[in-house]
């Protein structure tokens, strides 16, 4: 789509009869992203930036609200505050809906005072609760590595402006496990969080700061696509062991994800078509709605995704009648077709090598290069070198350009004087 203006926008959006997430009228105000964050797949694969005109946005919102009856409008894009005319758009919509029950929201990753001004425009009806910013990394050096050019000064000034103009809560998004990261970079997240917290408290005792820290998962089509992914153990060490089991979450303004989920995310993100076998096997082992914490409260069931494939006698004899070569080797098109069967779908245990007499491969071995092979003992996601020697090309790819040296013994968790308390 060269020109978004020419693309018919879905105006009559579905209005759910039961409560859902993202329950609002969404208008995509532009596609692509002006920033070049090196971890961000969406920003890489949606280039170039193509904007909708402010008049079009205004019209889409007005017609959409009238058609759907939604009480909330979301101005969506990868970084909505970066639309070249976002100021006029926000002012015009603010004028239209001032004094009504219709609220406007603007998800944004921009960290500057202008973002606060914009959010003020969109909340004239009085609801100033929370703002979210995504510095992504704690230290200037780390932010330079990921090309998220936000200075600490910017962030602190933004926090100052936000809290002085009546915002009560700031959420900050960070990642750990980024390429070249050291423990100092991790501790810098805490430093930054504490600095923002001091500003928050200076403007009111009830003001809050939440730090949300996720484990970095390298994504294809990004400069980090061959980077190593931290193991769940390493991410837990960096985050200071397990999440706090504290009945008063206010005292722990740190939100983290289950690092095991990142393993599955990495597997699905960087695996190729062979991942379909892993997905099928995980499903056969009982994986259902693994990311739905409403359903499964304990873990994401990572074991189902990383459990070694066992060979039952029945399936082995069935598959032994075929000549099948393990995929990912330098097989010819002919032999691959023979292995796929007539429909192209594989039968039998996924990823088990029937030609080589090696040990059974792991399910996760379907995804090459998910995690560096330098951590064979601890990583549940690993390739299986004994049964499937990697071809030269993929071996070269397995050397990520920015991988940390593996540590022989596990270093202690980073200690921060104020966090350690």
């Amino acid at each position: 789509v060269q020109d978004l203006e020419q693309w018919p926008y879905p105006q009559r959006q579905i209005v759910p009869m039961t409560e859902t997430v993202h329950e609002r009228f969404s208008v995509e105000i532009f596609r692509g992203c002006t920033r070049g964050c090196r971890f961000c797949q969406a920003g890489m694969i949606t280039r170039p930036v193509r904007e909708r005109r402010p008049e079009t946005v205004q019209r889409l919102v007005e017609e959409g609200v009238a058609d759907t009856g939604f009480e909330e409008v979301g101005l969506l894009s990868l970084s909505s505050a970066d639309h070249s005319a976002i100021g006029p758009i926000a002012r015009s919509l603010g004028d239209t809906y001032e004094g009504t029950v219709t609220s406007l929201s603007l998800p944004s990753t921009r960290v500057d005072a202008f973002n606060v001004t914009l959010s003020n425009e969109l909340t004239r009806n009085g609801r100033r609760s929370g703002l979210t910013f995504a510095p992504e990394a704690g230290s200037e050096r780390m932010r330079a590595v990921i090309n998220k050019m936000v200075s600490e000064e910017d962030l602190l000034r933004t926090a100052e402006v936000a809290f002085s103009q009546g915002w009560r809560h700031i959420k900050l998004y960070f990642m750990v496990g980024l390429p070249t990261e050291t423990d100092e970079d991790v501790l810098a997240i805490a430093d930054l969080g504490i600095a923002v917290y001091r500003i928050a408290r200076a403007h009111g005792k009830a003001n809050k700061v939440t730090l949300s820290v996720g484990g970095f998962v390298p994504k294809p089509h990004t400069p980090f696509q061959w980077a190593a992914q931290d193991t769940p153990e390493e991410i837990r060490r960096k985050l200071g062991a397990d999440p706090p089991a504290d009945p008063h979450p206010r005292r722990h303004p740190l939100r983290t994800n289950d690092p095991e989920e990142g393993v599955i995310e990495g597997l699905l993100a960087r695996g190729d078509r062979r991942v379909a076998d892993a997905v099928e096997r995980a499903w056969r082992l009982g994986a259902r709605f693994d990311g739905w914490h409403e359903v499964r409260r304990s873990t994401c069931g990572a074991a189902r995704w990383t459990r070694p494939a066992s060979r039952s006698p029945g399936t082995r004899s069935a598959s032994a009648t075929r000549t099948r070569r393990s995929r990912g080797t330098t097989s010819t098109a002919g032999s691959r077709r023979a292995g796929c069967g007539r429909t192209g779908r594989r039968r039998g245990p996924p990823c088990s090598s029937t030609t080589a007499a090696g040990p059974p491969a792991t399910t996760a071995a379907c995804a090459p290069a998910s995690t560096s092979s330098t951590t064979p003992a601890t990583s549940p996601v690993r390739c299986c070198p004994s049964s499937r020697p990697p071809p030269p090309t993929s071996a070269a790819r397995r050397t990520p350009p920015c991988r940390r040296a593996p540590s022989a013994t596990r270093p202690p968790r980073p200690q921060h004087p104020e966090v350690a308390r």
Binding site: V15, M17, T18, E19, V65, A66, D67, T68, G69, F70, E71, V101, G126, R127
Partner: protein, 242 residues
């Protein structure tokens, strides 16, 4: 207004029902009044929540508008913007400060329909059980809930019970229908409680439970709330319930 909750909308919860109405009102562009406060809500109130899964042609709602409206036109538009299965049947305009709608809804006509299997035998069984229940002065049942069991007396709520065998809608078979008028006075007795009292574990669950109408109980009859009050003539529901 009296409205329906038929088809798949019978699976809408009372909580979701409010936002469905609020959005339909906004789509119909009606000048609904909003509550004051941090999170304003449209002034639409529903007197009595329906259990999820139960159909209804006897739902009621009270709407407060911020400006005068032409009710005929406005409610026709609202009926059109509500999801399929939710339709406005009738309405009455009342001045501010009129008696609460709930005070007009003192009894409910329920309809329970069974699948077309052994209809004659089921009808006979239910008739016997209904006679026994009506002849008794009390009949206690236990209602199991997540917060514990509760013992309820079903009998005081029962105004009338009528069992009949009739043809299925496509005319291919016969099915059993139970129509019950139950008082809404506390403790509220639901069709599920009535089934425990009648079935005693021997009656299969009905395929469909419907709240047909609500109103004022008269001698074994229900006078529908809106048509029986302040309007000429009586709803055909009245005759049906007899």
């Amino acid at each position: 207004v009296r409205w329906t909750k038929e088809g798949r909308t019978r699976f809408v919860s009372a909580r979701d029902q409010s936002s469905i109405w609020e959005r339909a009102i906004r789509r119909a562009d009606l000048p609904i009044a909003y509550s004051e406060g941090f999170t304003p809500h449209a002034r639409v109130s529903f007197p009595d929540a329906l259990p999820v899964g139960v159909a209804s042609t006897g739902e009621y709602a009270e709407l407060t508008f911020a400006a005068p409206i032409r009710a005929d036109d406005a409610l026709a538009r609202l009926s059109a913007t509500l999801p399929e299965g939710m339709d406005i049947l009738t309405y009455t305009e009342v001045p501010a400060g009129a008696p609460k709608l709930a005070s007009l809804l003192r009894a409910t006509l329920w309809e329970l329909v069974w699948p077309p299997v052994d209809a004659t035998a089921l009808t006979t069984l239910l008739e016997q059980r209904c006679d026994t229940l009506l002849a008794a002065t009390t009949h206690e049942v236990v209602r199991h809930r997540h917060d514990g069991d509760r013992t309820l007396d079903v009998r005081p709520a029962v105004v009338s019970l009528a069992v009949a065998t009739g043809p299925t809608p496509d005319g291919s078979g016969a099915r059993t229908t139970l129509r019950a008028v139950l008082r809404n006075d506390a403790p509220t007795i639901r069709p599920a409680d009535l089934l425990v009292a009648l079935g005693d574990g021997e009656v299969a669950p009905p395929t469909l439970v419907r709240r047909v109408a609500q109103g004022v109980p008269t001698d074994e009859v229900l006078a529908e709330a809106l048509t029986g009050v302040g309007r000429d003539g009586r709803d055909d529901i009245v005759a049906e319930a007899a």
